[in-house]
Symmetry: C2
């Protein structure tokens, strides 16, 4: 690390220069939010144009003649099921189309595991319940575990996805009932699981027959570049190993149409789909089918979705690139930071030296830049090394991002020098 | 009962006449459904006209400037909260606006009681859990109890609502954690709770401090006549007795806008609202706010809703009246049936002599008329007297209803005579 090669005076000079830059940022009284993977207004306008052009709210009849305005249809109208079946690579019969939130479907599915189970007994009646949590990961997955008192076991990520050697060991414990995965453009690392990782997950033989992989394919079509990552079809791989009920998949159009008003879906093996439908038959009379038909009228096939997503890539790509350019410019040669350069998704993951993430977060906040809480991407909100920050460049515009990224690098460097000085 | 005054031959003659009428119905191969409180196509078209006139899908900004297309806002946009606050008679701060299903909100609230509780301990950790179920009642309430293994205690209904003498006794059992109520135009009896009943519910002092009344005000504005029933404000009554967290209210626009695409809401005391919001913050990032703003743009006040509901009353009133007219004509003077004549809601409740409901249901079904399953309106699907049938006249048109009601009366009379002959 460059700073370690400097003497105390040199470091203090460097720190003073950085603090002067930092203070001039503070004086500008900026107010920027890079904390969540939230689309910006331009992106929403593009989606609105697409939806408004269809004057879609005069379509009521599903292709099977069902009046979408009325009660009924638990698992979704056929055209919406078909779309998600193509997106997730399973048969239509294994799809349930839900409301506007895939997170809600995940929560409800974990809740069902706890209260009723996916085998003979509810998870909650079997003693302690554990979930494997590749980290850094999606904070809201971990919150679901915390809510239900599920013990989280942190599993490190590799460039190929979660460390499968460790996972294969951990599933020998019958108390391990689940595992969270964001297999493509993972939140927050941007990693896509390698074919080998997908195959090893599909081949798992956990001690618990009611162990389930929660496969949150949130960024399945969310490319930034034409030569995006490819992800192996997990369900086909599972079938090769007689594991048809091992994986429950989730996705949504939250970042395809509207974050606040998209449609979500889940897919699972035939037994689990039957169990989930049984619960749904008690829980609701049916999800919002008018929103389903609105979406299905515009996105008839995966190809329609992919074409649409190219418009979003045009908006998002420059946002990612300006941040990455600033990182390169400010961190280059210093050997104090490493970061991911994802080909899709919504996040850049930034790793700083141990013990520097929280301090960087605080410095940013005091200057008007809100980042995702340091540690939030780890179970129980605790990053053991206090080194990871999740950067969400989707909401601010490019000029704001340029400012934000510069400020962030200044804060990170201040944190690192302070640490070196204190050692 | 008239039939008991007849001799065997007379009864057999009567039966033959009825069977001949029944068979001629059978030959017409009708196919009618009066099983669920499902609005008919005309009603949906009226709602569509209202919504389409607003070209509402170009409104995105809530009155506080929030972009409804994006993530966020857990408890609903202000204008939607205000509308439901006025409908349910509570402060805006006590409202949570949900997705399209109030049933889903009830399920989730019971689930929260089971897994986390509304006091110090989850219900499921306290031993057996019991709910009071005024019956006949809403089958889907009872299904929620069955799903969670909650023991249901049937409480008889009176003309003023549930029998409060019995309820005041039963809540002395600390295992009793809940009670289902449909306080206005009750499903299926059409009864509205008297002021005295509301006051006694509000004044309950249950042994369990985590006992909650599930107040499903599904038909709160669903009048058939100008001089409809009035229901006392339960929350105001609760406050008089220091019971601000006793009642959790639910309602929706399912039968105001669209059954498949309305918006639902719940209201509760401040402590419970905080608990429910905490759970929601884990379960979702926010419900569909574009659907909320669509509704709020059209229904700005309770008065807007009431005006709109008059159009529905025009459609529904003749449907109720044709059924009631047929009942009067066919059952009049025979003293074999009693039925409710509701001023609102979606149901007529028909009581036949003991042991005649299932047989009537079967006869109807075999002639092409589907009724709600006999017994469905009782806990565990078991009507102890096998005498009650729920009639839902909202879906078929008036001509179909005339046929259906005549067929139903014929079937009921056959069932009664068969029973008298067998005695």
């Amino acid at each position: 690390m460059y700073y370690k090669s400097l003497g105390k005076t040199e470091l203090e000079n460097e720190l003073n220069k950085l603090k002067s830059r930092y203070n001039s940022f503070k004086e500008r009284e900026i107010s920027l939010d890079m904390s969540r993977g939230k689309p910006g207004p331009t992106q929403l306008d593009v989606a609105s144009d697409v939806f408004n052009a269809k004057t879609n709210n005069i379509i009521y009849k599903a292709e099977n003649g069902f009046d979408c305005r009325n009660y009924g249809v638990l698992d979704g109208i056929p055209e919406a099921k078909r779309l998600f079946a193509e997106i997730l690579g399973v048969d239509d019969s294994l799809i349930i189309v839900g409301g506007n939130s895939s997170l809600n479907m995940m929560f409800d599915t974990v809740a069902q595991g706890m209260s009723h189970g996916f085998g003979s007994e509810p998870w909650s009646k079997q003693g302690s319940v554990k979930f494997l949590c590749p980290a850094p990961g999606y904070d809201r997955h971990f919150s679901i575990c915390e809510y239900f008192g599920i013990e989280m076991i942190t599993v490190p990520n590799t460039a190929d996805g979660p460390d499968m050697d460790i996972i294969e060991e951990l599933v020998k414990d019958p108390a391990v009932k689940g595992m969270w995965c964001v297999p493509k453009y993972s939140n927050p690392t941007g990693t896509t699981y390698s074919d080998e990782t997908v195959r090893r997950i599909a081949a798992l033989k956990p001690a618990a027959n009611d162990f389930r992989v929660f496969w949150d394919n949130a960024y399945v079509v969310h490319e930034l570049y034409e030569d995006g990552d490819t992800l192996l079809n997990i369900y086909e791989e599972c079938l090769k190993h007689g594991n048809e009920n091992l994986v429950i998949q989730f996705t949504s159009t939250s970042k395809i149409s509207f974050p606040g008003a998209g449609i979500a879906a889940q897919a699972a093996g035939p037994d689990d789909i039957a169990k989930i439908k049984k619960r749904l038959s008690i829980q609701t009379i049916g999800y919002d089918k008018m929103n389903q038909i609105r979406h299905a009228a515009i996105f008839k096939t995966l190809n329609d979705v992919n074409e649409h997503m190219k418009k979003f890539a045009e908006i998002l790509r420059p946002k990612f690139e300006v941040v990455l350019k600033l990182f390169e410019k400010e961190f280059g040669g210093l050997d104090i930071a490493s970061w991911t350069k994802p080909k899709g998704g919504y996040f850049i993951s930034l790793d700083l030296p141990e013990g520097c993430a929280k301090r960087t977060h605080t410095l940013c906040k005091e200057a008007g830049l809100v980042l995702t809480g340091a540690g939030a991407t780890f179970p129980y909100g605790k990053d053991p090394k206090d080194s990871n920050l999740r950067i969400a460049p989707s909401y601010p515009d490019v000029k704001e991002l340029e400012l934000a990224a510069e400020l962030l690098t200044i804060c990170a460097k201040i944190a690192v020098i302070e640490k070196v000085l204190a050692e």
